[in-house]
Amino acid sequence: MSEHVIKTDAVIVGAGPVALFAVFELGLVDIKAHVIDILDRPGGQCTELYPEKPIYDVPGLTVVTGQELTDRLMDQIKPFGAEFHFNQRVDTLERLDGGYRLTTDAGTILECKVVVIAAGGGSFTPKRPPLPGIEQYEGTSVFYSVRKVENFKDRDVLIVGGGDSALDWALNLQPIAKSLTLLHRRAEFRAAPASVQKMLDLAEQGAINFKLGQVTELHGESGKLDSVTVKGPDGATFEQPTEVMLPFFGLTMKLGPVADWGLNLEENLIPVDTAKFETSEKGIFAIGDINTYPGKLKLILSGFHEAALMAQQAHKYVYPDKKLIFQYTTSSSSLQKKLGVK
């Protein structure tokens, strides 16, 4: 297989509000960016954690929701034609002569002159229930996502959770699994009502085994799960035999592979200087919640400021022979041309 390599000026890791505004600031200084995010849409925490929650401290907007702010930023950066790569996590960063090569877990390879890490609290990863010894079963009996449906064929499958992921996979795996048990702590679900109804119908027919309770212990040997202990709503416990468990408890943020890129770290944050927001390595910047410096505030507006200063320095690496003249969007005809308003 021949390697397809995308060549670009800048790669932005993350697609939250600060990453999106970085597209704008880089665009104003003629730097073309590719944006990579593990989620399936832009907005980062704003759209993943609190799309409907009001934000009151974005200058000029009395109140804005996470979703609306994301939508507005996407509109604002449209003139710069950034390319987005969703559902992917950047796994490795290699140093090249005069640039960097990044590879995602989906196999996308990008080569660029500057890297902007705007990854917030890190990448969203499935929550691991704090059950003693769960690590030993991960990848063999415990899975947090379904990569290959075939892996669950003719097996006793236990799905834990009450959201859309739990319900969808219960319905999808039921026809091929030897047995399918859905375990949830209560009789109400956060999933699409149609899926819930379908599951209840299948439970009625005996095709799905729906039980109430929470897993408290895992039992098995050398990575092979035999059963789990479940605490029912009445507090009484029972054993549920199973070969496979799929816990769906939502997502949490983990720094992830960024930790292995050879950058200086301070308690899972990336220290930067406050003039250029550059990391311990020239050409790699960190902006937004993921960076740290004296006086750092984890505010969206601080991230916007950081993006503007970062772009000034990034220009020096992308266009080493050009002098950057500071201009205002209000009065500069060249900036207005880039924005498509002139």
Binding site: L49, R185, Q214
Partner: protein, 106 residues
């Protein structure tokens, strides 16, 4: 002011003063109470500020609204006394409130 008593899994007790209007989560974070992660900063979006309300205080603190109940699905070892502390508003009437911190937030 209202006093809130946080009890850790090992039995350690801490009494903090909270101003009416703030949430129990905010009182915990402000006073660096261990075990209240509050990852999302109080948006009822993460379930990492899970507490068990002492039985004597369950009526006074009320019951979770649907969004909180949904979010509790993401907590570990959920019990009838489970609440997300970011959803309990401190009032003068809650002076002396006792909450226990679960063994694990996740």
């Amino acid at each position: 002011m209202a006093r809130i008593i946080f009890i850790q899994k090992d039995g350690t007790k801490r009494v903090v003063e909270a101003e009416p209007g703030m949430t129990v989560m905010e009182a915990a974070v402000k006073n660096a109470i261990p075990g209240i992660a509050a990852e999302c900063g109080g948006a009822c979006a993460c379930a990492t500020c899970h507490v068990y309300v002492d039985d004597a205080w369950r009526e006074a603190t009320g019951t979770p609204e649907q969004m909180e109940e949904d979010m509790l699905d993401f907590a570990f070892d959920v019990r009838p006394a489970s609440r997300l502390s970011c959803q309990i508003k401190v009032t003068e009437a809650l002076d002396g409130l006792v909450v226990s911190i679960p063994e694990k937030q996740f």
